[in-house]
């Protein structure tokens, strides 16, 4: 019985993240439009886009290789697996131990690896631009991400998300400088990783400034759909990661009744909405920076993360 | 040993001395280089057999003049062996020199006679039990080599010989003065007359000799014989003599004559270490050894003449050996002996190779020799193996001795190990640099196949390789015994 329910919860979670991802994207677009006094597309516009793309035939460049065609599915799958093990509304997912925080980051890394290769496959200059810039961003984002994880792990004594969430919700956490800094760093990394303003602009097609869009320039049809879905899934993943670590309220513990799960779900949705809204607000209130300011931005994140790891000594119990 | 032994015992030592003398006389008379060359080989072979027979015969009592003990048998046998192989090499070498007309038959008669005289001198130096006699013998050997170095009569050759002669005779004087001082030290104890010059007797009473006299004596002997060992700063004659003389003589010089002088120094070191208050010979030898090693190591870099290159490498290795003996102790002495034997074999092998190369390419300039392994595989790889061995890379025998020397040095005087290792590394760098140039790269110069036989070279290399992998226990026991004897 327990196993069944656990399996059910896991399956539900997997389905949930995929289904919610476009909605979150839609929500953010909507909020941004509203902030700009525009009507904006409807919340479910992303779903429509995806379906249309899926139905279209895929146009592929002549010298695109098998890699180009397989990559989107693999990227999506990898991101999905990563997202599947993050406690969104309930801890103790049955498969949560397959991958801890480090593994999740690494999974996203594999997705990026494939995406960058796909960008170089056709052999256009824009693909190259995108890939090389993506690689540069990754070289700064990943270490800072890992240092953030170190901070958490050294404080919570585990890299297992459920455990960390449990620890963070426990009273003994208190208020720690290192955690605060880690949070800031994590937000910065998340912005960079999801190619949001000010690092990159998901809406732009101004060639020389784009990174993510430049890589996927050659994609169309179902392949593009897969990549779009993966992107919004990644955004969802990061937001749920942040909320799961730093505001782990009302996460349903395992073997609690359906009410707890329901409460957890509702709270999670609100968290998502708030997070998305905040992101939209941030994006509208700031301008995109030049590509070669990005390293400084991420370097700051890296330094903060390092600071966080070191500061955990001084603020053992503040 | 066996029934033969009484028969052999009678004349083993005598044969070692007489064969060369007789051969020299014959060679001086006989015309025609083919016979003389063959006779030369034959005589050297006989000497070698006589030397080997020293193992099986029981030894004569140490007399007033002659002595055969564990120490010098090693030297004699090594001497006779390298002398023999070199005579084979020189036969083919000289033939080529005649063809190219660098030497005349008249020269050759002189050359072969001198060769045997030199062998006689060296053997005499080894077997002599009388320090005066030993001195005479060493000088005889030296002067003959002087004449042979000058044999080409080019102004370089004459200059080299002249330099060798002047420096050599100063060395002679020093050595003699040292010998006289030893006598003076011994005379009050042993009493006047011959006894005071007989080494075996000297060693017995050395403890009661006047230390101050012994010190001065050793300084002069070290400088006098050290000149022949080629220790820096007394080395000046050595590179020129090697570079300008005929290659067989270079091989003999590096392989043997240096050992003769070294042997003399060792004898006196034993003498000195027997007397308690006397200055320790070790530090002096170690200092000179290190100086020569590092000096030669740096000198190796700017060389343009292949024979000079290996001449300096001889200085370097003599430095190592003297250092090892100066360090003393069973381990280091063993290493020193081993290193000396290995160096003689390897260096003469290298000079054989160099001789062939120089004859094929018609020059000794390093820059004119390239890509040997491609044009002359057997010669090139042989030279390569030789240099690898001399640079102290395994599995050749020199690696073992250097291993022992360096590790025991570091265990006992860590600070001394640093200059030692430094010198070794610098020398290694230089040798390998030159080797890379000579053995590899786009071939340059004549590609005519070498006619001479490479057997002597490969025989030496095989021995060195074998020693690096497996040393027969009797030999080891022998060396260890000597090592303890050397203290």
């Amino acid at each position: 019985m327990v196993l069944i329910s656990a399996l059910f919860v896991q399956a539900f979670q997997m389905a949930l993240v995929v289904l919610l991802a476009p909605l979150l994207t839609g929500l953010i677009r909507k909020v941004k439009a509203r902030l700009l006094r525009r009507q904006g597309p409807s919340l479910i516009q992303p779903y429509r886009d995806l379906l249309r793309l899926l139905r279209k035939e895929a146009v592929v460049a002549e010298n695109a290789s098998w890699l180009f065609r397989v990559a989107p599915y693999l990227i999506f799958a990898t991101t999905w697996v990563a997202a599947a093990v993050i406690p969104t509304f309930a801890t103790g997912l049955i498969f949560s131990w397959t991958a801890d925080l480090i593994a999740i980051v690494a999974l996203l890394g594999s997705a990026r690896f494939l995406l960058a290769l796909a960008g170089m496959d056709v052999g256009t200059s824009f693909g190259g631009i995108g890939s090389s810039r993506e690689a540069m961003i990754a070289t700064l984002a990943e270490p800072s991400m890992l240092l953030i994880i170190f901070t958490l792990a050294l404080v919570a004594g585990s890299t297992q998300l459920s455990t960390i969430a449990g620890f963070m919700s426990s009273p003994e956490v208190g208020l720690r400088v290192s955690l605060a800094i880690a949070l800031v760093a994590l937000v910065m990394v998340a912005i960079a990783e999801n190619a949001r303003i000010p690092v990159d602009n998901p809406a732009t097609h101004l060639e020389l400034t784009m990174v993510h869009e430049a890589m996927v320039l050659e994609y169309s049809g179902r392949h593009l759909a897969m990549i779009e879905l993966a992107a919004s899934l990644k955004l969802l993943l990061y937001i749920s990661l942040i909320v799961c670590i730093f505001v782990p309220w009302k996460l349903a513990a395992p073997e609690t009744g359906p009410t707890a799960y329901l409460a957890g779900l509702v709270v999670y949705l609100t968290k998502l909405i708030v997070g998305g809204a905040l992101l939209a607000l941030f994006e509208t209130s700031i301008a995109k920076m030049r590509v070669f300011r990005v390293p400084e931005f991420l370097g700051a994140a890296l330094m903060l993360a390092l600071l966080a790891t070191l500061l955990r000594f001084v603020s053992r119990s503040l | 040993m066996n029934v033969l032994s009484p028969l052999l015992a009678f004349d083993a030592v005598a044969a070692v001395l007489l064969v060369p003398v007789v051969a020299a006389a014959l060679l001086a008379l006989l015309p025609g280089y083919r016979i003389t060359a063959r006779l030369n080989v034959l005589a050297s072979l006989l000497t070698l057999l006589a030397a080997l027979s020293l193992f099986v015969t029981e030894r004569p009592e140490p007399g007033q003049y002659l002595l055969v003990d564990d120490l010098n048998i090693v030297f004699i046998v090594l001497n006779a062996f390298v002398g023999f192989t070199t005579s084979i090499f020189s036969a083919s070498y000289i033939a080529h020199e005649l063809e190219t007309g660098r030497l005349t038959p008249a020269n050759l008669r002189f050359y072969h006679a001198m060769y045997q005289v030199m062998m006689f001198g060296m053997n005499l130096a080894f077997v002599s039990n009388n320090i005066g006699l030993m001195w005479v013998a060493v000088e005889l050997a030296t002067l003959t080599t002087v004449l042979m170095v000058g044999i080409y009569r080019t102004h370089e050759a004459l200059e080299a010989a002249w330099k060798y002669f002047i420096l050599g005779s100063v060395g002679i004087a020093f050595a003699l003065f040292g010998t006289i001082l030893v006598y003076l030290a011994a005379q009050p104890v042993v009493g006047e007359g011959y006894d005071a010059m007989v080494w075996t007797i000297l060693v017995e009473h050395a403890a009661t000799f006047d230390p101050a006299l012994l010190n001065v004596a050793f300084v002069f002997l070290l400088l006098g014989y050290g000149t022949k060992v080629g220790l820096a700063p007394l080395h000046a004659w050595l590179p020129d003599a090697h570079a300008e003389g005929p290659t067989p003589i270079s091989a003999v010089l590096s392989g043997l004559l240096l050992n003769v002088a070294l042997y003399a120094v060792l004898r006196f070191k034993i003498l000195l270490s027997a007397s308690p208050e006397a200055i320790a010979a070790g530090p002096l030898m170690m200092t000179m050894g290190l100086t020569s090693l590092i000096f030669a190591a740096f000198m190796l870099y700017r060389r343009r003449d292949i024979k000079r290159l290996f001449a300096y490498s001889s200085i370097e290795h003599m430095g190592i050996i003297v250092f090892a003996f100066g360090l003393g102790g069973p381990l280091a002495n063993f290493a020193g002996l081993l290193h000396m034997v290995m160096h003689s074999l390897t260096k003469s092998a290298i000079f054989f190779a160099v001789g062939h190369v120089a004859q094929i390419k018609g020059t000794q300039r390093l820059s004119a020799i390239r890509g040997l392994t491609e044009t002359h595989p057997s010669l090139g790889w042989g030279l390569l193996a030789g240099v690898i061995a001399i640079a102290g890379l395994p599995p050749m025998g020199i690696f073992m001795s250097e291993f022992l020397i360096v590790s025991s040095t570091f265990a006992r005087h860590p600070l001394l190990a640093i200059p030692l290792v430094f010198g070794l590394l610098v020398a290694f760098g230089a040798l390998l640099l030159r080797l890379t140039g000579v053995a590899f790269g786009q071939p340059r110069g004549s590609v005519a196949p070498g006619k001479a036989s490479y057997i002597p070279m490969y025989a030496h290399l095989a021995l060195v390789l074998g020693a690096g992998i497996y040393l027969p226990p009797p030999l080891v026991a022998w060396f260890q015994h000597i090592a303890n004897l050397l203290r």
Binding site: S65, F76, V122, S131, M136, F313 | Q442
Partner: protein, 671 residues
């Protein structure tokens, strides 16, 4: 017949094979014969060592042969540690021989390779079996010598000659350092046997000095910064399967030497050893991969990345030392396991990548990536296996590189329990460095694969090529499969090396194979766990499911057309991103600091017909700061001393005279 004697006889046979290589060097049948033989022999040795590692946990058979140092003899010993490294070495040897069967056909001077290839393998095996200082060093140097001969096999290229020279000099420098270390350990009586050294008590000062010398000796062979300069020159100079052996295996032999002495012979470590090794490792990893990223020569890129992986391994080793010094057995075991695991992995994917580079070389005759491109169409198998290697070496799940890196991170997370502040501060920082180099590695291999295999061919050399022979493909395929297996079943490897770890730090990680779902759990599931198998299955399942669904219910039609490229017309292949341009952002970020990169753009004024030029200058700071001065000093001294060559006889006499006077003065003053 014990396993040890079998392996020893294998070694002898290797040497015989080498001799055979000399004899039949000119015959055309030599290549298959030699490689076939060495394939067979190393396969046997591999199986034996595998069996020994699997079956016997404690017993270490020893053999003493009456060769080598007379009164000592040559001691050989096969314990768990040697067995593990033998396994690595002979696995590499087997596959390199297999690859050589095909690759060797294209060798234009086989007689310069064939004799030394088996000798090289023999040397590596000897080092691993040696149980006394002399045998160890002689085998060590023999290994260097054989590999040097292989590096010099294409000797007409001046670059190769220079590489070989630098290599042999550095190697003998390392050997001398090791010699000194063993001299210290053996003491004045010259007790060179490892058993004696193990038994002896070593003063802290001595032990520290030995560690430094060891870092010089083993480090120079493994390629630790700043002793790495020879490596990126020498490894690529050799034929590719030899490069694979040198990078994949020989560097590991160096690490074996380090482990053997520090963990086995030297007794209890001190905590600062860990710190030193840790910092060196971190620096090596970062610097190595940065250089790799700047490289445009494929094989040299791989060599630099070898340096990075060596750094990673040394970081884990440093951690293990630090933990061991503080008596934290489990943590130490974890770190050491991570190190050994990474050693195994790196030997796999680095060989694979070098094989791939060799295949590219044979197919196109090019090593310069900027002349390649688009090979994925014409060399599908090679490119696929190469891709696997790239993903694996970039430490990405579900492949093996990630598993070992993950373990290393887990070990780093044990640091807060360390009593020394220096360590607790340094370890996470080095961890950050490790993460940085992992990310850089990913970027580096995106570049390596993307520029070489993807896009459009940049030169005719790259456009008309065909897939390489089946031996090479077989070798690469096996390696790729092993990379995946070790990635999804890391538990097997961890349990495999457990006996080694147990013998070295006296503790081991919990048994992994009986954990449900075959996941790996270093300490406790609540702390951390990873399950490569499930990750792989999930990815595979969800990907195929998605593909099926999309193709079944959405569109499956596909149309080929010209690339879109924002509407720009498709320019010449030279408009593609090159290796240099790909690295440019990273170069700007890190290069200016790490290698003083300067970029110069010369843009002529409008109307000026000069072509615009762009030039990058980049410095190898280690080379310019350390090696150039040393070489200069030696040259200077040589030049000055060389004057003594040209003195007159009188001057020489005065030298003698001065020497005499000096000695007499010494006597006069000596009392």
């Amino acid at each position: 017949m014990t396993s040890l004697s079998v392996i020893l006889s294998c070694i002898v046979m290797f040497l015989v094979t080498g001799g055979l290589g000399i004899l039949m060097s000119r015959s055309h049948r030599a290549t298959p014969a030699i490689y076939g033989l060495s394939l067979l022999l190393s396969a046997i040795a591999f199986v034996i060592s595998l069996m020994h590692l699997a079956t016997s946990f404690v017993d270490a058979p020893t053999v003493i042969l009456p060769i080598g140092l007379p009164w000592l003899g040559a001691h050989f010993r096969l314990d768990a540690l040697s067995a593990f490294f033998l396994l690595v070495a002979n696995l590499g040897g087997t596959l390199a021989s297999l690859y050589g069967l095909g690759y060797g056909r294209h060798e234009h001077a086989p007689h310069r390779v064939l004799p030394f290839f088996p000798a090289f393998i023999a040397g590596m095996n000897l080092v691993l079996l040696a149980d006394d200082a002399f045998t160890f060093l002689i085998s060590w140097e023999f290994m260097s010598l054989a590999s040097w001969a292989l590096v010099m096999s294409h000797h007409r290229d001046a670059g190769n000659r220079r590489a070989g020279y630098l290599y042999i000099v550095m190697a003998s420098f390392g050997t001398l350092a090791l010699l000194l270390a063993f001299g210290l350990l053996a003491g004045p009586e010259g007790a060179y046997g490892f058993a004696a050294i193990r038994a002896a008590e070593h003063a802290p000062l001595t032990a520290g000095l030995v560690l430094i010398l060891l870092l010089l000796g083993a480090g120079s062979k493994a390629g630790l910064v700043p002793l790495h300069v020879w490596l990126p020159l020498a490894h690529p100079a050799a034929p590719s399967h030899v490069s694979a052996l040198m990078s994949g295996v020989m560097t590991k032999i160096a690490i074996y030497g380090f482990i053997r002495v520090t963990f086995d012979l030297l007794g209890a470590p001190m905590w600062w050893w860990g710190l030193v090794v840790l910092l060196l490792g971190g620096a090596t990893a970062a610097l190595g991969i940065l250089h790799a990223l700047m490289e445009r020569d494929l094989k040299r890129l791989l060599a630099y990345s070898t340096i990075e992986n060596i750094g990673v391994i040394f970081v884990s080793l440093g951690l293990a030392l630090a933990f061991k010094a503080n008596g934290m057995g489990l943590a130490s075991a974890l770190a050491l396991t991570a190190a050994l695991f990474h050693i195994f992995n790196h030997s796999l994917f680095k060989s694979l990548l070098f094989f791939g580079a060799g295949a590219v070389l044979t197919a196109t005759g090019e090593r310069d990536m900027e002349k390649l491109g688009g090979l994925i169409h014409r060399m599908p198998v090679t490119s696929f296996t190469f891709l696997v290697g790239c993903v694996a070496i970039s430490a990405l799940p579900p492949f093996n590189g990630f598993a070992s890196e993950w373990l290393a991170f887990q070990a780093i997370l044990q640091s807060p329990n360390l009593p020394q502040w220096a360590l607790t501060i340094a370890v996470p920082a080095v961890g950050g460095l490790l993460a940085l180099s992992a990310a850089l590695a990913a970027a580096c291999f995106i570049k390596a694969f993307g520029i070489t295999f993807l896009g459009r061919p940049r030169t005719p050399a790259a456009s008309d090529v065909s897939e390489v022979d089946r031996f090479s493909l077989g070798a690469m395929g096996v390696l790729a499969g092993l990379c995946l297996l070790a990635g999804i079943l890391p538990g097997i490897v961890i349990d495999g090396v457990a006996s080694v770890v147990l013998s070295l730090v006296g503790d081991r990680m919990p048994v992994q194979m009986d954990i449900p779902w075959l996941s790996i759990v270093p300490i406790a599931e609540s702390r951390s766990s990873y399950n490569g198998l499930l990750v792989f299955l999930f990815i595979a399942f969800s990907a195929s499911a998605t593909i099926y669904i999309v193709h079944r219910y959405a569109s499956r039609t596909l149309r080929r057309s010209a690339a879109w490229d924002c509407g720009f017309p498709e320019g010449s292949p030279l408009t593609q991103y090159t290796a240099g341009s790909f690295a440019q952002p990273v170069r700007r970020v890190f290069g200016t600091l790490a290698m003083r990169v300067r970029e110069r753009v010369d843009m002529p004024a409008p109307g000026d017909l000069r072509p615009a030029t762009f030039s990058v200058e980049q410095h190898d700071l280690v080379w310019e700061g350390l090696y150039v001065p040393i070489a200069g000093a030696v040259g200077f001294a040589a030049e000055k001393l060389n004057r003594l060559q040209f003195l007159s006889i009188r001057r020489y006499l005065s030298l003698v005279f001065l020497a005499l006077v000096f000695l007499l003065l010494v006597l006069a003053l000596w009392s």
